[in-house]
Symmetry: C3
Subunit: 346 residues, 3 copies
């Protein structure tokens, strides 16, 4: 895709300074951009790059006062960051998620329906009696089990696996290899030490605008539903166990794990590689720092937690600082003891 | 699926109290159940729900003495929990794992055989010279490499990937996206700092009744076999490295990792996000708490471990308690030192 | 595959002692080998096994002086380990990665080209306008998005998922279920606490001789490229976030995670379950021990790090040793305080 600077300016309702007939064919950061690139300047901390960038054109604010002349053509807009994000979305839509039509062979079982304007990639599989909305994008090797419901505008990337009876809302994104609805890890210990498998007959519900990362796993409920609420963002390789609830607009970063039946509030942030024990409740706006492990419910909103086991971030930082000085602490203790034993020498 | 309360009672050899012609079409927890649901009461701690539940019918013990009248019909049986588990198994069999037949296109290579009463989903792949038992359920997008053996009644969920020469026992479950038999991470350092790949020609053996979680990875042995013994349960996103042995009825919870050549005994429990170093031996009935890292072999049976690096749980709990009070400890030390330096003022 | 001992010796340019007409059909460790096996002795620590092994033949050094007679035939070569590795490579090539041809149905989009001598497994998918070299092995269920480039001799195992515009070098290995090029985890917080998705339009570049483990995930850059440099080895279930760079011949062990925009130097080693925060720089030859979490850049080469948060390994070991003795430390402090308060009794 190649556009003139003038064409881009027209789309963004911006004004061109410089040669509007030059052509750009890619988007790039201002500090990395080369000829043919379109870039943007939003944070004035990076203004010095404007005068040295290799970009063919840069989107800048209408109010920016230049300190030097620029090689690059300028497209002046009200809000450069928003304008650039709009171009990013347009680019992504055009190149990656804008696919439509059916590639053969693709499989759809009896009784399933799918709305208009969809993509079904080759080797994608839809089971029986599914209800799938319009504008849905289903990449190759996606598996959708029987009796699933999927809302409008949702994108399922290659090899996403949706077990039977899963409910997915509108405008969700499920990345490649994610597994939604696998059995909860439920085994009843038997007198001989072996385990009997407890059937897991619940499902998973993703509300609207949920994002699930690559190779993440979300187990179905034993009974009832594991629920990921509206707007929650789950990163790659995260594990969500049976009967968990993740609150609205909560973010769970990569490789974190949430144990069975735990309820996470709204607007929470779990950083990478965190773990939550089972049957906990986390209040809204709880933040858990990376690699921490939470073993107790958090009732107060807005708490920051650190450590394994985790406690209050501020206290944890203080304990960690002293942990690094433990050899010194022990030496001082030895010294005190020595002096106390021989007070005459002190 | 809809049944009358009387039909359910007949299957369970139970006695109905109330209207046996009412219909139920789902199973639910007693505290969440709504009209049309069948529930159960086993733990008497939850007895108060019996009098308020929205369930249409509840399975209870023959010996239960009611404290109030109930809205729900009762089905009286000897052991409500076992009866309910039986219904769960029946439900799961009917809806999820009871599929039979071949959906086209499905691929099976030359020289491979599969027993009666199987399911092969669309886009499933079986390589050459495989021997697969009867009652085997192979969901869509499953990959089975050449020369694999798979026992009777095993279920492979969507997109499970079984490398060549893997041996899987009877009644195993492999969840979606699990990878069994990938190369061990074997690289010989060269004088220039680069690595030469050591070919990994061993395989993986899963004995009977093993369960492997979604997106778990089990590497093949360098030579010989990586072995998961009878009845072991491996959760989602677990990593089992080359030449590891996991003992009988051992449970490995989500996101745990076991390094190369480590041997885990029988009836062990590794909680979530634990790590074991390589070339260790863990005695039977070892328990490792969540997020712990074990760096030494454990010879005594029944040990509980915590921490990273892990040691005895009881001692670890005591050290952790003091860790949280380190600032206080340091303050007391400062105070002692101050007093000792100025004894006249104390 | 069955060979005589004499045939093996001929390939390795070795000399046979014993019956060269005996047949071997597998490779095994000397301590586990049974009749029909070919083994090797390189490290003389294991020499005692040579006299008791069940192997039919053993590859040994030309200079080895026997202390006893052996049951096994001997194949004498200059360097037993290198000779055996050559056989391992030959075996692996013959059995696993030596597949050629196209199994139907396989999908290749318009404008894509693939070089000679390739394998495309059934249900493999190649998008549009891809350029794929020669001797490339593409197992079943592999997904390759549009406009990807893949170098000569690269192997993609079953169900590997390569997003659009990924660039993969020569002689790379991508194991089953790995996801390369998934969206970076980029969300801009909005005033109401919800998140707007930032389109991720960059890609992933794997240079030559890179290995990616099963179910690992490597996110594309927001703009520009996430780069895995020549010879780097990434293990199973590792997470590499957007815009990360992994240096040449760096090893990242299983279940480690690297956050966005972090640059790891050459010849580094990240042990299992480690985590790196975002926007860091790690100097060449940095080593991070298992389960550690690095929150600061490392400028000096060759540093060893431990702990979460990580610091110098030697200091961390000392602090950890005292951590285990914290109850004793506190008891000593109590004792000192008691004595100081009652000096007359000491």
């Amino acid at each position: 895709m190649e556009f003139t600077v003038g064409q881009i300016a027209e789309v963004l309702r911006g004004a061109v300074e410089g040669d509007s007939t030059q052509r750009v064919d890619r988007l790039a950061k201002i500090e990395e951009a080369q000829a043919g690139s379109l870039s943007f300047l939003s944070n004035l901390k990076y203004e010095h790059y404007l005068y040295t960038t290799g970009a063919t054109a840069v989107i800048v604010s209408r109010t920016l006062e230049l300190k030097q002349p620029t090689q690059a053509a300028l497209i002046r807009v009200d809000d450069p960051y928003t304008s650039f994000t709009t171009l990013l979305e347009f680019y992504q839509q055009a190149t990656r998620t804008g696919k439509r039509g059916v590639e053969e062979p693709a499989y759809m079982g009896a009784g399933s329906r799918i709305g208009d304007n969809h993509y079904r990639g080759a080797f994608s599989y839809i089971g029986e009696n599914c209800e799938i909305g319009q504008d849905v994008v289903i990449f190759p090797h996606v598996y959708i089990g029987d009796r699933c419901k999927i809302g409008d505008g949702t994108i399922l990337y290659a090899g996403a696996k949706i077990y039977a009876e899963t409910v997915i809302g509108a405008r969700c994104t499920v990345h490649a290899g994610a597994v939604i609805g696998s059995d909860g890890f439920g085994f009843a210990p038997q007198p001989d030490g072996s385990y009997r498998t407890i059937p897991q007959i619940g499902n998973v519900v993703l509300e609207d605008n949920v994002s699930i990362g690559a190779n993440a796993t979300i187990d179905c409920a034993t009974m009832g539903s594991t629920i990921i609420r509206e707007g929650a963002k789950i990163d790659n390789l995260v594990q969500i166990a049976h009967n968990v609830e993740v609150g609205r607009h909560t973010v769970v970063a990569s490789q974190s794990g949430v144990s069975g039946s735990t309820k996470i509030g709204d607007f929470c942030v779990l950083a990478g590689q965190t773990g939550l024990a089972g049957h906990l409740t986390l209040a809204n706006r709880t933040t858990v720092t990376a690699q921490s492990g939470v073993g107790k419910s958090i009732k107060e909103e807005g708490v920051l937690l650190q450590g394994s086991p985790a406690f209050n971030l501020r206290d944890s930082l203080r304990s960690n600082a002293i942990f690094r000085r433990l050899p010194e602490l022990e030496r001082r203790l030895d010294e005190l003891a020595r002096k106390q034993a021989q007070p005459e020498k002190s």
